[in-house]
Subunit: 491 residues, 2 copies
Amino acid sequence: MAKKGICSRKDDYSQWYNDIVIKAGLADHSKVRGCMIIKPYGFAIWELMKSYLDNKFKETGHQNAAFPLLIPKSFLSKEAAHVDGFAKECAVVTHYRLKTSDNGKEIIVDPEAKLEEELIIRPTSETIIWDSFKDWIQSYRDLPIKINQWANVVRWEMRTRLFLRTSEFFWQEGHTAHATKDEAIEETKKMINVYNEFIENQMAVKVLQGVKSESEKFAGAVDTYTVEGLMQDGKALQMGTSHFLGQNFAKAFDVQFQNKEKQREYVWATSWGVSTRLMGALIMSHSDDQGLVLPPNLAPIQVVMVPIYFNEEDKSSVLEKLELIKNELSTKNIRVKIDDDDQKRPGFKFAEYELKGVPIRIALGPKDLLKNQIELSRRDTSTKTQIPIDSTVETIISELSNIQNNLLEQSKLRLKENIFSVDNFEDFKTQIKKGGFIKAFWDGTTNTEEEIKKATKATIRCIPNGQPSKRGNCVYSQNPAKFEVIFAKAY
Amino acid sequence: MAKKGICSRKDDYSQWYNDIVIKAGLADHSKVRGCMIIKPYGFAIWELMKSYLDNKFKETGHQNAAFPLLIPKSFLSKEAAHVDGFAKECAVVTHYRLKTSDNGKEIIVDPEAKLEEELIIRPTSETIIWDSFKDWIQSYRDLPIKINQWANVVRWEMRTRLFLRTSEFFWQEGHTAHATKDEAIEETKKMINVYNEFIENQMAVKVLQGVKSESEKFAGAVDTYTVEGLMQDGKALQMGTSHFLGQNFAKAFDVQFQNKEKQREYVWATSWGVSTRLMGALIMSHSDDQGLVLPPNLAPIQVVMVPIYFNEEDKSSVLEKLELIKNELSTKNIRVKIDDDDQKRPGFKFAEYELKGVPIRIALGPKDLLKNQIELSRRDTSTKTQIPIDSTVETIISELSNIQNNLLEQSKLRLKENIFSVDNFEDFKTQIKKGGFIKAFWDGTTNTEEEIKKATKATIRCIPNGQPSKRGNCVYSQNPAKFEVIFAKAY
């Protein structure tokens, strides 16, 4: 157990993760099984993610809307393949009224208030949205429809982990309808690229992009595109998916349009989403045994300033200088906090903001003022430097950019160093125990995929976009391979 | 039935409202009883409301967070008064799994997957939030806590109307905890003023502010502050409430803190909220028989530009000019759309944007270009003017401001003209049939309130802040009055 009550990664990675989430004030368990409370500091990070993505969605021609939380059970039956995929474990509403018990002491469910048809809390909204699209779409003039929804969804999970797997979680789900197959495929690819760009440039995480194998894709999709991150413990985390749905939902909900030639055709569709899982990925990608490490672009507080003083006179001169710097930084849209809480000592504050992953810490005392210098500490490198006080603003601006870049470079390096090519199953089994992405040839059969999973718990994370010109033999069957793919154990 | 299939207000106000919501593309009924679909155009207005309010909440020191959708039934029992108030009609989750029926053809609820304790979809979040506050609050140093949540809530409604009363609706709920009674009361008042300012300056609606009577207040509150708007049909609509909760929830959930004198005290609380009901109020406040009328501050499209052309050459010169104007307006953060859809005639577009309440419409054709003029139409006054093309940007900027002011002035006037002072019950009954706010003295008894409601369906909307120095006699009992209050029939 390191200081601050955070377990070290080496001792117990899973406990380390949980400690950071709780101690940095990001989220908490609620008394409702599997549901989390996202606390203000955690929610502020999620808001920065949402805000960036929401702008990108709008720039790429999407509009937000809201569809009902509750879905009639019969809608799910319409797309049975879809339900088989994942939606069986879900919250079912059967009654619509509470009443006081006969003894007047308790609240009970009124047995008279039973719904004729049960309602399901949405595990995802394809069915209810496609039921609406049927009303919205008559002609090619109504297409494309490009909708996004920021929503809470519920999937009943037996084993939950804060952000990574919770029964209720938050996400956005994009749903689009197109007149042609090509346009829908283009949309699917465009959105996985929006995710890729966001994850790389905002989250400072390097990911692998590709398509899912038949058994790993979304059940309702023709093709699922994915971006896969590698966590510090060598496990993969699926960070976003974009599905080309073909005409599956259009057929299930009978959504046809009249084309320019006045013929009726089924509509082509996509859906795509990222969720609060990204919070888990962000935490696991950069943090260390001292606590959270945040890339500046997603840090609610980018710079914290801690005044050092022993009397009121020093306090006011130090604070006056810090306020000036803060105001200048604020005009440049840098998020700054001055912590002048008298109840806490500077050392306590240093530890607190280290734990919370604030990228830059500034400390200023009366002696510094005399020397015209200020102390700047970087959270990512744990380096501390004295800089001329007049250069504070420009140094902070360049250091924020350096930190963002450094975190991405580290992530790139970690990914590169942890992709292992293997060509036989013995090496595969040895390597998978150590973790990382395994690059290997695969014969393309579901059987091979299943056997590998049974033996090692590894799954195909993706079939990368850039396939080699020459195929080898399958790492498991040694038959001629169909693809070079990435295997890993995954969250 | 007027043009565009909108019923006139005179013929059927309720049908008129519904026609506008549907035909302007704001929202739609879903197949789930009482739940609405907010369509992109309606959601864009809601987003503008959210964005403004969210900034105000943050400026006033609040942070966003997220608490679970589902609440254990036992939490509601803890605050029985609270449940008695309104939470009996709510959606109850009893099971957590679906399965395929024995014949393999249907999806059914798995009877084995019954929850030990039923979960309620939140009708409001006081209980689950106070259960958390118990963990968050130990000392006066932890106070105040000022949280807001943007969320969906469910109250099972038998008779629903789009935006005004739906089973699922969207809202924000602020929840704060304070060390002193005075601080909590100050917070309650501050937030009702935030709502008042928003409604007046953004929604351009003049409201009355005051406190609720004992029987009209939120069951869990000590005092409920309210802002009440008057719709065009003479009915009142409660637009926002802010509750001083005293120590009620602190006692129900045993939330105490140690004060500076090391004594344990119960925490003081507030909660406050506005919902998608505001959308209903906005629509009803300004719109006319031609469709929606929006105040510029909340219009997703503030200016629409319709090019007029008969050949490609004209089209390109007209569009080129409009693009230039649009770019200049965009740099001034004005939301502009150029509708260059060749499939629709200009007249059709004019009608469409009139229906959608776009504040300013610009039309430009080749003849206008020759004359160096442009046509500007105001939605609020239905006036059309030719203006010099070089003054377009400045004219638009000043006209947007004029429209915003004009709508507010109209709302002020309507409110002023529809407050009727009465001093006897015969006049009361005559006036209430015609609608409007009735200002009258009230003896302060619940009995009088009930008798008036029984006879006229009117309720006390609020006890206004500015009470007259001299009291008269109660309009119903003729006993000495305790307050001068506002009565109305309400949505």
